[in-house]
Symmetry: C2
C-alpha cells in the first residue's frame, strides 16, 4: 500500500467517514450509490483507504469503464492484493484493465506468496547509480518524484546488474556537499530481506532496526522492491489478531468479526471446539476410573471443578505469556530450559498460595455429610496438596506446549487457553484422585 | 523514536547483533564491557536501537562524561521516554546533561502522559510559511535537513501563531512547478490529532488514513509535534501484547518475559488467579447443592468436566473474537445487539453439533453401573440437551462480557478466557443438573 499523500481524509472527509462507518451494513448497490455521492478527490481517498476485499466488492458493482479508472489508481502491490481476492477466471479480466507496465509489475508480484516479503513489497522505489554526483542524483530524483513512486525517503544505489550496493536517505543526500558522489555518501551493505522471507520476520527486521523501509532482494542480491513501514503496521495488527484468535481457540478469521457470515463463523470455531470436546472425553474416562472413590466419598466430586479449573487458569497464563514472548522474538526455541526453570518457580509459588486459600476454604466452610466432616482436616490437606501440584503442572504444560508446537513446525499460538485447559483438566483429575488415594485411604476412602 | 538512517545495523552490525542477543543475560558491568567493544558507528546504532529501559540501564553503568555524550544522541522524544523510566531525583541529573534547547523540548514532552499523542510525538518536524515559493521552501528545507529533524517526508505549513494551516509531502513540493507558492500546493485542513489523544486512537488514525506521520496540535490548533508511523509500530505491538496477556488472565507485564523476576511475575499472575479461584468457590457451592442428585446417580458426576469445559471453550472463543474486534475498532459499544444476534445463531449451531457428538459418545460408550445403563438413552439426551444450552450460554456470556466491561469503564480485554470459563463453569453446573432433574426424575433420579 502507498502511504497516502498527507491530505487524505480531508477536507470534506466527513462524508467519506460516514460512508465508511455504514459500509458493512450496505449491500453492493447501496455501496455504489454512496460512493457516487463523493467528490472526485474524496472518492479517490475513500477508494484507496478500503482494504482489498472491500475494493473488489465495490469494483464488482461498477460499470467496466469506471472499473478501469479505479484499477489504474492502485499501486501495483495493492492491485496484486485485490487480484488475490478474486477467482482465477476473474483475475484475467481485471488484469486486462491495467496499462502494460502496471500489468507486468502486478503479474510479477502475484508470483510471490501473499504473506512473504515479495507479496508485501512495492516495485516502485527510487534508484540511482553510485557514480552520480550528489546534485545529479537530486535532479534525477526530482524527475522520479513526479512519477508514482512509493517513497523517496530511501534512495537505493544499484549497479548495472540491479544488484543492491547501498542506500542513502534522501535527507542525507539532500544535506550532503554537492561535490561528492553517491558512493561517498551511501551506506554500503544495508539491511535487506529475501523475497521469500515471511511477513512476520520482515516486521521484526523493520522494528529491530527502526527502518522506514527495507529493500527486498532475490538470492543473487538483485533488488526486487521495498517494503515500507506503513505496510508493516497492517501486518503487525493482522498477525496480532491472528495470534489472539488462535489463543482464544478459533481458526484465524479472514475478515472483520461482523463481516463473517454465520456458517463461515461456525466453520472457524467448530473444528477446535469439537477437537477439544473429544479431548475432554479423557476427563470422562478419568472420572469413570475413579467412580469407586467418588461413590465412597462423594464430597471429593464437589471440589473437582474448583481444582481442575485452577490448573487450566494457571496454564492459560503461562501459555499466552510464552506465545506472545515468542511472537515478539523475546523467547526462542533454545530458551525452553530458562522458561521451564522460571515456570517451575512461579508455578510452585502460585500453587502454594492457591493451596493455602483452598485449605482455608475447606476448613472454614465444611462441605459434605457429618461423616465426611469428621475427616475435614484430611480432606483440606488433600485439596490443598492437589492444588499445589495441579497449578504447578498447569504452568509447566502451558509454558512448554508452545515450544513443543514450534519444534514440530506448528504455530505456537495454537497452544490456546482452551487447549491447555483441556490438557490440564485430564491430568488434574488424575492428580487429585491420586493424592486422595494416598491421603484418604482408610479414612474417607 | 527517530527512524534510523538506512545503514543502521550494518556494516559490521553482527557484533552488535550478538551483543543484543546476549543482553538480557548480562549484568550491568558485562553490558558496559560489551558495549565498549563496538566501533563508534556500531555503538551509536546499538544504543539508539535499545528500548528506553535498556538505555537507562546502560547509561547508569557509564561514567558521567560518556553518559552526557549518549544522552545528547537521543531525539527529544526518546530522551523523554528514558527519563520516564528514572526516579524523580535522578531525572534532574540526567536533564542537566542535555543542551538547553533539547532540555526545553524534553521538559515540554514530560508534561504529557506517556501513552498520549503528546508523549509519543517529536517536536522536530519541518515547517514552512504558506507564502514561500516552492523553490524557496525547498532551499529552506535543505538547510533544515542538515539539523536533527524527525522526517522531511511531510512538510507542515504554519501561520505566524504556529497554527497548522496545511501539509504537503516533500515529494509533492519537490515535483511541483517552481513558480507556485506553498499555499498553492498544500493540502488545507489536514488530518491531525490532539495532544491528549491516547496512543491506541492515534495508531487507529494513522492506520485508517495510511499516513507516514500525523501532526499533533493543542486545543487552539497550534502545532506541537508529529507522531511518525515507526513509533506507531511499537505502540501497536505493545498494545497487542497487553491485550494478549490480559486475555490469558495476567496483568500486563512491563518488560519482556525473561526480564521479569520471579516475584514480579507472581505479582502479575497471582491476583487474577486468586480472584478466579475464589470465583470457582461458586462451583463448589453448586456441586454441594446437587450432592443429592449425584448420590442417586453418580454417573452424572462423570460428565461434569466434559460438559462445563465446553461452555468455557465456547465462551473463550467468543470473548477473544469480540475483544480483538473492539481493539481493532471493528465493533463498537452500540454494536452489542448485532453481536448478540450473531452469537445466538453461532452458539446454537455449535451447541447442536457438540450435543450430537455428546449423544453419540454416551450411546456408543456407556458409562456407569448396569442400573444406569438401562436408562442410557435418557442420560444421553440429558448430556446432549445440557451441551446445547451450555455452549450457547458460553458464547453469549463470552461475547457480552467485553461490552459490559467497556460500558463500566474497564478494559474489555479483562474478559479473559479464564474469567469467562469460570463464569460459564458455575452456570454450566446449574444448567446440567436442572436439565437432569427435569429429564431424569423418576428414572435415574
Amino acid at each position: 500500500m502507498t502511504a497516502a499523500e498527507p491530505g487524505a481524509g480531508a477536507p470534506g472527509g466527513l462524508v467519506g467517514a460516514e460512508l465508511l462507518d455504514a459500509w458493512p451494513l450496505l449491500d453492493r448497490e447501496e455501496k455504489v450509490e454512496g460512493f457516487r455521492l463523493l467528490s472526485p478527490a474524496e472518492a479517490e481517498d475513500f477508494f484507496l483507504g478500503l482494504d482489498a476485499l472491500a475494493q473488489a466488492d465495490l469494483l464488482a458493482g461498477l460499470p467496466p469503464a469506471e472499473r478501469q479508472i479505479w484499477m489504474r489508481q492502485l499501486a501495483p502491490d495493492d492491485a496484486a492484493d485485490l487480484l488475490q481476492t478474486l477467482s482465477e477466471d476473474q483475475r484475467g479480466a481485471y488484469l486486462a484493465l491495467l496499462d502494460e507496465r502496471a500489468r507486468k509489475e502486478v503479474v510479477a508480484l502475484l508470483a510471490y506468496a501473499e504473506d512473504d516479503a515479495g507479496g508485501l513489497m512495492s516495485p516502485r522505489f527510487v534508484r540511482v547509480r553510485p557514480d552520480m554526483s550528489v546534485d545529479e542524483a537530486i535532479a534525477y530524483l526530482r524527475r522520479q518524484a513526479r512519477e508514482r513512486v512509493e517513497t523517496i525517503y530511501y534512495v537505493y544505489v544499484l549497479d548495472g546488474a540491479q544488484r543492491l550496493l547501498g542506500v542513502v536517505s534522501f535527507r542525507e543526500l539532500f544535506a550532503a556537499q554537492p561535490g561528492l558522489t553517491v558512493r561517498d555518501v551511501m551506506h554500503a551493505e544495508p539491511v535487506r530481506v529475501l523475497a521469500d522471507l515471511d511477513q512476520e520476520s520482515v516486521s521484526q527486521v523493520i522494528a529491530d532496526h527502526d527502518l522506514a523501509a527495507v529493500p527486498v532482494v532475490d538470492r543473487e542480491g538483485r533488488m526486487q522492491g521495498i517494503v515500507t513501514v506503513d505496510d508493516i503496521v497492517d501486518v503487525v495488527r493482522e498477525e496480532a489478531t491472528e495470534d489472539i484468535q488462535k489463543i482464544g481457540g478459533t481458526v484465524a478469521l479472514e475478515a472483520p468479526y461482523l463481516h463473517v457470515g454465520l456458517l463461515a463463523m461456525v466453520g472457524k470455531r467448530l473444528p477446535w471446539l469439537s477437537v477439544l470436546f473429544v479431548g475432554q472425553f479423557l476427563t470422562t474416562a478419568a472420572m469413570s476410573y475413579f467412580e469407586g472413590e467418588m461413590a465412597r466419598a462423594l464430597v471429593l466430586a464437589v471440589f473437582i471443578p474448583l481444582i481442575i479449573s485452577s490448573g487450566g487458569n494457571s496454564g492459560a497464563q503461562a501459555s499466552t505469556l510464552v506465545i506472545r514472548a515468542m511472537g515478539m522474538g523475546e523467547v526462542r526455541l533454545r530458551d525452553w530450559w530458562r522458561v521451564l526453570q522460571r515456570e517451575l518457580g512461579v508455578g510452585l509459588v502460585l500453587g502454594l498460595v492457591l493451596g493455602a486459600i483452598g485449605l482455608a476454604r475447606v476448613l472454614l466452610w465444611p462441605a459434605g455429610s457429618a461423616q465426611t466432616q469428621k475427616h475435614e482436616l484430611l480432606l483440606a490437606i488433600t485439596v490443598a496438596t492437589s492444588l499445589v501440584w495441579i497449578v504447578l503442572w498447569g504452568a509447566i504444560v502451558g509454558a512448554m506446549l508452545p515450544f513443543l508446537l514450534r519444534r514440530l513446525g506448528f504455530d505456537p499460538a495454537s497452544a490456546s487457553a482452551p487447549f491447555v485447559a483441556t490438557l490440564s483438566d485430564v491430568t488434574g483429575i488424575v492428580i487429585y484422585f491420586s493424592v486422595a488415594t494416598v491421603l484418604l485411604t482408610g479414612t474417607l476412602l
